[in-house]
């Protein structure tokens, strides 16, 4: 088994550097659409306080995800001048799913190697 046992679908998977903040933002939006500050709070809660996003980091990540079409922004009805709610697109959800499949394979591979070295 290798980490690079890839399927045809994986070949077409979009390459986006999924740093921890980006991954956490995607995870936050996977549950339900959220606006900027709600994402910051949710990521803080999700990570148990270990990932504290600044607004600069958050909006940098949101911009990259918007450009790639992984998320989309929707203007809120009230106070729409300065607030947008972000939600995961079907493309974003599919790519996030693939990323977790890849991580699962990595975890499996890591556990095999660790147990082999212990034996």
């Amino acid at each position: 088994m290798s980490l690079y046992d890839i399927s045809v679908d994986d070949i077409y998977m979009e390459r986006l550097s999924l740093t921890e903040p980006v991954l956490m933002v995607l995870l936050s939006l996977a549950e339900r659409p959220r606006h900027g500050y709600a994402i910051i709070k949710d990521v803080e809660q999700l990570s148990g306080g270990s990932v504290l996003l600044s607004t600069g980091t958050l909006y940098g990540a949101l911009q990259r995800l918007l450009e790639r079409g992984w998320i989309e922004g929707v203007k809120e009805e009230k106070n729409s001048r300065d607030r947008r709610t972000y939600r995961l697109t079907s493309r974003g959800r599919r790519n996030l799913q693939r990323e977790f499949e890849r991580m699962k394979r990595l975890t499996k591979l890591a556990s095999i190697r660790i147990s082999r070295s212990e034996a």
Partner: protein
């Protein structure tokens, strides 16, 4: 703090600001409000995190869009044109310096007729001047031709294979 935040936001490219400035300020305001009741250490960490986040974010965006310039206020040189009179003045000064050096050399030969005659400096000076000018003109020519060919625009085209596949 909000004031400083707004000032720092101006380091971002203008297109980015049009899209996100209001939202970022709104999110920052909410985060700052939540921080008010907390202890000094947490507030200090919040300030450091936000400032470093904005600075690194602005730097990243400026690097991503190198054709957009940093807002330099009154130091912005976009409208600056090098005046022709300055070139004439600089040439006159150069001529004056060359004449002074030549006079000094003649004097040194006159005062010490038996001594060693200093080597003529102007061939080396002319060669160096020609070399620098040639390098400058060549560099400018290459940049000009690249600009005309639109090479940098070609480099910035994004090829999104999977995007085509999905649409």
């Amino acid at each position: 703090m909000l004031r400083l935040y707004r000032i720092l936001l101006h380091l971002y490219p203008s297109a980015y600001l049009n899209e996100f400035a209001e939202e970022m300020t709104s999110a920052f305001r909410e985060a700052e409000r939540d921080c008010l009741g907390l202890n000094l250490k947490v507030r200090a960490m919040f300030c450091i995190r936000e400032i470093s986040g904005v600075l690194s974010g602005a730097l990243r965006e400026q690097i991503r869009y190198p054709n957009r310039r940093l807002p330099m206020g009154r130091f912005d040189m976009r409208s600056f044109r090098f005046p022709r009179a300055t070139i004439v003045l600089m040439l006159m000064i150069l001529f004056g310096v060359v004449v002074a050096i030549e006079r000094g050399r003649a004097l040194s030969i006159q005062l010490a007729p038996g001594g060693t005659v200093p080597l003529a400096w102007w061939p080396a000076f002319t060669a160096a001047l020609a070399l620098v000018t040639g390098a400058g003109v060549t560099g400018y020519g290459i940049l000009f031709l690249l600009g005309r060919a639109g090479t940098q625009r070609i480099a910035s085209i994004q090829t999104d294979v999977s995007g085509d596949r999905e649409s």
